[in-house]
Point group: C2
Chain length 156, copies 2
């Protein structure tokens, strides 16, 4: 059993795995006669020959034990929390325990996993939370799963 502590989520730290979806002033544009600020194109859905679809994921608390990783080789996948609660994003640049990183996301931060990025399924904290998910629909097998040699326990 390997113990991991969540890291602070920033665009820079998360860059190898995808994008952080948050209100970064660098992306702000005033629209709608000044009544709306648009934080423009924080992520671009990668869907290849497929289609970008919008779904809702209702995640329930589960043990903070990482024994597997999955990835979507044909498209990106974005998660945006809808109830302003903190959650965890678990990613890796290869499917090995040593490569796993855990990020502590605030309730105002979503992420998009780049195409083919290893990650653990949706991990909420102590409360259920619903997320908006943008991912790919289309032909082909868009899911790979691997079990790890060693289980990782997240220490929060």
């Amino acid at each position: 059993m390997k113990l991991l502590t969540p890291e602070h989520l920033t665009a820079e730290a998360f860059a190898p795995y995808g994008e952080v979806i948050e209100t970064d002033p660098a992306t702000a544009v005033e629209i709608n006669s000044g009544f709306t600020t648009r934080y423009h194109a924080l992520a671009q859905a990668e869907v290849g020959e497929g289609t970008a679809i919008l779904s809702l994921f209702h995640g329930r608390p589960r043990p903070l034990e990482i024994d597997m990783l999955e990835r979507h080789p044909l498209g990106s996948q974005a998660f945006i929390p809808l109830e302003s609660r903190p959650w965890l994003s678990v990613v890796a640049d290869r499917a090995e325990p040593e490569a796993v990183h855990v990020f502590a996301c605030t309730g105002q931060q979503g992420v998009q996993y780049a195409t083919g990025t290893w990650h653990f399924p949706l991990l909420v904290g102590n409360h259920p939370q619903t997320f908006l998910v943008v991912d790919r629909s289309g032909e082909g097998n868009n899911l790979e799963e691997v079990y790890l040699d060693e289980t990782i326990l997240i220490s929060v």
Copy 2:
């Protein structure tokens, strides 16, 4: 000045304008070893030759006066509230005051405007709210605006 009262938002009532993004049990699939319920493909982003992008819109209160409508002829546009607050969706099947409908969206309801659907810009209630927006990026003019002959006042 024409007075309009918001209607209750349901998938059926909104069907001429696009999709409602909410946790409809009819679309539920259990995934992630039973820890997540996926409400699958509630909307499909329509982007033609373009790309689906994810942005955040921070909307501020404005007068509930509808004096114009806009539409995006090249792609769909989805709005999902991130702070669980009610908001208003204003749509029309043609750019005329008689055709305007106002829907009262709960804080758990997002909508996607179908390609070319006339709508008013983001309309929050008494408090600011941030929304996740999925729309189109790409070549071509994707915005048309028209001013109405008569201003519509929303009575809430």
